[in-house]
């Protein structure tokens, strides 16, 4: 509605030739400069919010599925890459086993050398068996992770988190539909910042990009990383089998296992955030809004001043000032759910960092 009024004002301001002091003149006499000021900021706020929240609805509606998604280790995409590496690695294994067997049988080495060769033989044979069964093994790991994740997520109502995400980033339920997607906590800050100083509006645009796009990128990245590590799993096993390359192989195997089981950590974090929201008492760590009467006056003042600046006496503002008043009067930020949204993105990566070096 604001954008329609702004466009209308621009058209009228351009087409009307000479302002006068009658009511009509006052209505139509606003200079193009002020109107473009208003229009530029309104368009920027609308476009930036719509652009950054483009796929937010998809992420919110499918959060559980996005967490549970795993590539199919027996599917054609993964199997193609896996077969390629298997075709390279298996002959290497055979060659190494043959050479080690030849050394053990025909060459009289030192007792320590023979002991090393024997243990190497064992790990090579075990490695060969594992990589031959790698599609089944990886599929079993992914399924186990998905089943555990589903069981954990079933312990609490995930919609508490999605509703909270809507309040912080999306469209709160108690706002009228035509303004809902622009009245969330961060949206309010973005609007206020944009109309204070547009450069400040560039900074308030960042949380949307980081959180919403970050979540989307995170889910895609996890899927892509699991696909990659599944494909090069035979190489990881080969490197883990040899003493010289054991460190590299260990890191690769750890990454494979951690990226697969990351969804369990995601589920734990979501459950923890749900429990925190349920357990925290109302008003705890909450920045309250302005008093209701002040919200009304401020809304009229904000919208009326802007409308007055372009000489439309409050008509356009009346439609939105109750919404602005309601939003200014409701709590600005509830810190626990607010921090929970960002923890959803960062906590799994933080926990992963702790689990480094768990393989022997």
């Amino acid at each position: 509605m604001l954008i329609i009024f702004s466009l209308l004002t621009t058209v009228i301001a351009i087409t009307v030739p000479t302002p006068d002091l009658s009511l009509k003149g006052i209505l139509l006499s606003k200079t193009a400069g002020q109107t473009s000021w208003w229009l530029k900021r309104t368009i920027y706020a609308f476009v930036s919010l719509d652009y950054s929240k483009e796929d937010f609805g998809f992420i919110i509606d499918n959060l559980s599925d996005l967490i549970l998604i795993n590539p199919d280790a027996k599917g054609t995409e993964v199997m193609g890459g896996l077969h390629f590496f298997l075709s390279l690695i298996q002959p290497l294994y055979l060659l190494t086993i043959t050479v080690t067997a030849f050394y053990l049988i025909f060459i009289s080495g030192s007792p320590s050398g023979r002991a090393k060769a024997k243990s190497l033989m064992g790990s090579l044979i075990l490695g060969m068996i594992i990589i031959s069964l790698s599609p089944v093994l990886l599929s079993a790991l992914a399924n186990f992770s998905a089943i555990t994740t589903k069981a954990i997520m079933g312990q609490a109502d995930v919609s508490v988190v999605t509703d909270n995400l809507q309040n912080v980033f999306g469209a709160p339920e108690n706002m009228p539909d035509y303004m809902a997607s622009h009245t969330c906590t961060l949206c309010l800050m973005h609007w206020m910042a944009t109309f204070t100083e547009i450069e400040l509006g560039y900074y308030t645009f960042l949380p949307f990009m980081i959180m919403i796009w970050g979540l989307g990128v995170y889910f895609f990245l996890r899927f892509a990383m699991i696909t990659l590590w599944m494909m090069i799993f035979p190489l990881s096993m080969l490197l883990y089998s040899f003493e010289t390359t054991k460190a590299v192989g260990r890191n690769m195997l750890e990454q494979t296992i951690m990226w697969i089981f990351l969804q369990i950590f995601n589920a734990v974090v979501i459950i923890a955030i749900t429990l925190c929201i349920i357990q925290s008492q109302p008003g705890i760590m909450t920045v309250p809004g302005v008093p209701a009467w002040m919200g009304e006056l401020l809304a009229i003042g904000i919208v009326g001043t802007a409308a007055g600046a372009i000489n439309i006496p409050f008509i356009g503002g009346l439609a939105v000032s109750p919404v602005v008043a309601a939003r200014l009067s409701s709590p600005l930020i509830e810190f626990i759910p607010f921090v929970g949204c960002f923890a959803m993105l960062l906590a799994p990566l933080f926990i992963m960092r702790l689990f480094k070096g768990f393989l022997p």
């Binding site: 002020q34 925190c276 357990q279 760590m285 920045v287 006496p313 929970g340 926990i351 702790l354 768990f358």
Partner: protein
């Protein structure tokens, strides 16, 4: 609708930092009546109020007002509830939390039973070397102990939290804990006040320009011609003073207008002509406009960004970290049975130990917050007189624009407590006490 219009006018008038111009020919009340008279067909004054320069001013004043209200709410909350937030721990015995923990406990008990059974069968039915038997026996003991601990893990967590919050409460009672909150909130306000100053001071200067503009455009045409009589007969100084007084009101920066007024006064022929008023209007206004533009008096909100970012960083450093602690603690409470399980096996002992360390770190963080608060309180109580005068800003403004180094250090200590504890815990881990 009419009431809302009047309310808006009241707000716009109250919020703009200048009042209707008092002049020799209209009192403040008369001018105000003229402004608020809805039947006054001359809407140009009101349009000036709401448009152009005053739109900028009204917008910025509204922004400062809203920012001030939110700052007030946040600082009030910190002053009242900081201790509550520090003492806040999740409750493991809450049914919803217990439900999730029981999910892990029941599944891990099954694994424990299988492991115990496998180890017992190994000890009973196979004949391993004495070393391996001893290892299996100690593992059996560890598994049994682990299973017991996992089964009572919610109670262990509750006990641990009660211990930690009890210690924290005791430490907080040792000194006046409101000192830290007061100093912290003072710093937040002292980051807010300069923002007001940076925006409002140039507005006052800009208002001066508006004063002159308003008088020249609207008051001067209404002045009686004989008012300019003195210009024809008085001395150059009297003429100059009269122009300055009439055009800009008392307290005007005469230096701006004086030189050009002198120049104008030298051309006395212009003042005798019938175009006197127009000449003054165009020459003097042009001079003022040129002068003001040259002085570049206008509010620049982008100059307040540093203070705004610092204010937001201070708020999030305290609130954000306390909220993060609550959430992380909840995660580790849920994973505590798994931590105990992983600690029971040789292969995963390092992993389990890491998880337990994190649980301990996030729990005892509240103790260190309490210690920081007490340190700040005691530090300020023993601070020698006069040391509080060292700082940044203007100390003779009642403290509104002055931040003492000790207050700043106290705020930074409170903000960085989690980092200090993290570094300490990492150092302890490297020492390998276990």
């Amino acid at each position: 609708m009419k009431n809302k219009i009047f309310s808006l006018l009241a707000i716009a008038l109250l919020l703009t930092p200048f009042l209707p111009i008092p002049s020799a020919h209209a009192t403040l009340i008369e001018t105000a009546k003229k402004q608020f008279n809805p039947f006054n067909k001359d809407w140009s004054d009101i349009r000036h109020y709401l448009g152009d320069e005053n739109f900028e001013h009204a917008r910025l004043i509204l922004y400062l007002l809203v920012l001030g209200i939110y700052t007030w709410n946040i600082t009030s909350d910190i002053l009242l509830n900081l201790n509550t937030y520090i003492l806040m721990n999740p409750s493991p015995m809450e049914p919803s939390v217990l439900n999730v923990m029981n999910f892990f406990i029941f599944n891990l008990q099954v694994v424990f039973i299988l492991a115990i059974a496998a180890t017992a069968l190994y000890i009973v039915f196979s004949s391993p070397a004495p070393k391996k038997r001893a290892k299996a026996k100690s593992m059996l003991g560890r598994l049994v102990m682990g299973m017991l601990l996992v089964s009572i893990s919610p109670y262990i967590m509750k006990l641990f939290f009660d211990l930690s919050s009890g210690m924290t409460g005791t430490i907080l009672n040792q000194a006046d804990s409101s000192v830290a909150a007061t100093e912290y909130t003072d710093i937040i306000w002292k980051l807010y006040f300069p923002q007001v100053l940076i925006i409002v001071l140039p507005m006052a200067g800009h208002s001066l320009e508006y004063n002159a503009h308003h008088v020249i455009k609207h008051e001067l045409p209404n002045m009686q011609p004989e008012y300019f009589g003195n210009l024809q007969t008085g001395t150059a100084n009297e003429q100059r003073d009269l122009v300055v007084e009439e055009l800009l009101g008392q307290g005007a920066p005469e230096a701006i207008i004086a030189d050009d007024a002198d120049q104008i006064m030298n051309d006395q022929r212009a003042f005798i002509s019938s175009n006197t008023k127009k000449m003054i209007q165009s020459k003097v206004w042009g001079t003022i406009e040129y002068g003001m533009r040259y002085m570049k008096i206008a509010p620049h909100p982008e100059q307040t960004f540093a203070y705004l970012m610092a204010e937001i960083a201070m708020i999030f450093a305290l609130y954000g970290f306390l909220a993060l602690r609550y959430i992380m603690l909840m995660i580790w409470v849920i994973l505590f049975p798994l931590s105990l399980f992983l600690s029971s096996f040789e292969l995963t002992r390092g992993l389990g130990r890491n998880m337990i360390e994190q649980t301990v770190f996030w729990t005892i963080l509240q103790i260190f917050y309490a210690v920081s608060i007490d340190v700040i309180a005691v530090g300020f109580s023993i601070l020698p007189k006069g040391y509080d005068y060292f700082g940044v800003g203007l100390n003779y403004t009642g403290g509104m624009f002055f931040i003492s180094f000790f207050s700043l250090a106290a705020a930074i200590l409170l903000m960085l407590t989690p980092i200090l504890v993290l570094m300490l815990s990492q150092r302890l881990t490297q020492m390998d006490l276990g």
